[in-house]
């Protein structure tokens, strides 16, 4: 089982990640796993609320660029993430805490490794501030 990273939220697209895997096993192995029908449907407010609630980081695993089942969900979430990173930075939240990766993994076996890699990168960042708080 993957090491639990309770403060990392993981969004994955159902069309690209884990759709052939055993959902229960994956859910047991991946803390705070939120499969979505298309990453293009992830609202900015969901991302910000997660940080507000104390998430250390948010990892979005989207379909390969240009291969969205809904035509352009990958492109839409990519642009949304780029602008949200600047909003996070303005609030003194390291923009590296919001990451989007593109790829495909039908079994879902690679998700845990992606989360672990993201956790390692987060571990090298400065400690996050309390939401809205001063240093």
């Amino acid at each position: 089982m993957t090491e639990r990273h309770s403060a990392i939220i993981v969004f994955t697209c159902n069309f690209g990640w884990g759709y052939q895997g055993d959902r229960e096993s994956l859910a047991a192995a991946i803390a705070n796993w939120l499969p979505v029908t298309c990453c293009g449907s992830i609202e900015a407010e969901q991302i910000l609320e997660a940080f507000r609630s104390g998430a250390d980081g948010i990892l979005i695993l989207a379909c390969p660029r240009g291969e969205c089942h809904y035509h352009e969900g990958d492109f839409q979430i990519y642009k949304r993430v780029q602008l949200l990173k600047q909003l996070l930075a303005a609030h003194r939240i390291d923009p590296e805490r919001l990451a989007i990766e593109f790829g495909r993994d039908p079994s879902g076996e690679a998700i845990s490794a992606r989360v672990a890699g993201f956790a390692r990168r987060l571990g090298q960042l400065d400690a996050p501030l309390a939401p809205g708080g001063d240093a």
Binding site: E43, A44, E45, L48, E49, F51, R52, F75, Q76, K79, R80, Q82, L83, L84, Q86, L87, L88, A89, A90, H91, I93, P131, G132, G133, D134, A135
Partner: protein, 331 residues
């Protein structure tokens, strides 16, 4: 009892405000004079000289209405907001600062210490060789002088006291202001907590909407001073960032009439939790270039996306919202 004593009492007060909302009330003109015939104004610091002791001497709920503008930035703002709340049957948050924190809320993107250092030391126009800083109290000629406590954060009014109604705008337009006062003073009260403005986005009533293409795409970005947009053209279609799609309408389009894009002073449309987040999402959706390099160039050309998103609403945003500190506790 004389007729004058039967008049409803109202107060008009500013907290952390520029006075623009008071000017808007003055702009009611003849309607203000008619209003003054019907009500007794017991407090209006921007216009008339009254003493706070008179307010303290009123019974609780004696005021029919207090119109409060401005944000809550220090302990004096909070003290006056609480006093007037206790004395008022209705409180109207008037203007963007009272409703959302307003432009002063952009200060929340900086730490208080940095702001103080800049204002009292580092700014190029400041001469302060002794490094003097404002202190909460000091003694001058044997008298102890106190300053209000400066909070770490800019707050919207409802984060300090209970607010009954909201009227956004920077400042609120005269027609909505008059409509709000008429409704609140006649007892025809809308649902408590309502925003007394239309629910739909500004784009729905924008006179430039006819020039908006069916599929809006942004391929270049211009700041509004860099390009002259035809007065009938949709700003976004010309690559000038306009917050009309994500901002509540009702302002009357005064900025648009001055060939200036919407800046978002009416806040989010009904039901939207975070105006800035929703605006950035809508802006992202319009960005057209799919080539990575062109996309990066365009994103970099958007000067201060967070500033666009937070200009009037940071203190009520998901990342910016904080409750007002308890003055009995140290921050």
């Amino acid at each position: 009892m004389s007729p004058a004593r039967k008049k409803a009492k109202i107060a008009i007060y500013w907290l952390g405000a520029c006075g623009g909302c008071d000017s808007a009330i003055v702009d009611l003109g003849g309607s203000l004079l008619e209003l003054a015939e019907k009500v007794e104004i017991v407090l209006w610091p921007a216009v008339l000289d009254f003493k706070y002791d008179r307010i303290r001497s009123l019974a609780d709920n004696e005021l029919a209405l207090t119109i409060m503008s401005g944000c809550v930035r220090n302990s004096e703002h909070r003290e006056m907001a609480e006093l007037l709340r206790a004395k008022s049957r209705l409180v109207l948050a008037c203007g963007a600062c009272a409703c959302f924190g307003g432009t002063p809320g952009l200060a929340n993107l900086r730490q208080k210490g940095d702001i103080v250092s800049w204002v009292y030391g580092d700014a190029p126009t400041v001469v302060n060789p002794g490094g003097e800083r404002p202190q909460p109290f000091c003694r001058v000629n044997g008298t102890e002088l106190h300053l209000p406590r400066f909070y770490d954060h800019v707050h919207a009014l409802h984060q300090s006291i209970e607010v009954d109604y909201y009227l956004p705008g920077c400042p609120p337009p005269v027609d909505l202001l008059l409509g709000a006062l008429s409704a609140l003073l006649s007892g025809k009260l809308p649902h408590r907590g309502s925003t007394l403005a239309p629910q739909k986005p500004l784009c729905d009533s924008c006179p430039r909407a006819a020039s908006k293409p069916a599929r809006l795409e942004i391929r270049t970005i211009h700041r509004c001073h860099e390009v002259e947009v035809d007065p009938t053209d949709c700003f976004l279609a010309k690559g000038v960032i306009c917050l009309g799609p994500a901002t509540r309408g009702g302002c009357g389009g005064t900025c648009l009439a001055a060939n200036t894009p919407c800046r978002g002073c009416f806040g989010p449309v009904e039901g939207v939790r975070d105006a800035g987040a929703r605006f950035l999402s809508s802006l992202a959706a319009l960005i057209a270039p799919e080539d990575d390099e062109k996309l990066r160039e365009l994103l970099e050309a958007i000067a201060d996306p967070a500033g666009y998103g937070c200009r009037f609403t940071q203190p009520v945003s998901i990342l910016g919202e904080r409750s007002c500190p308890d003055d009995s506790e140290e921050e």
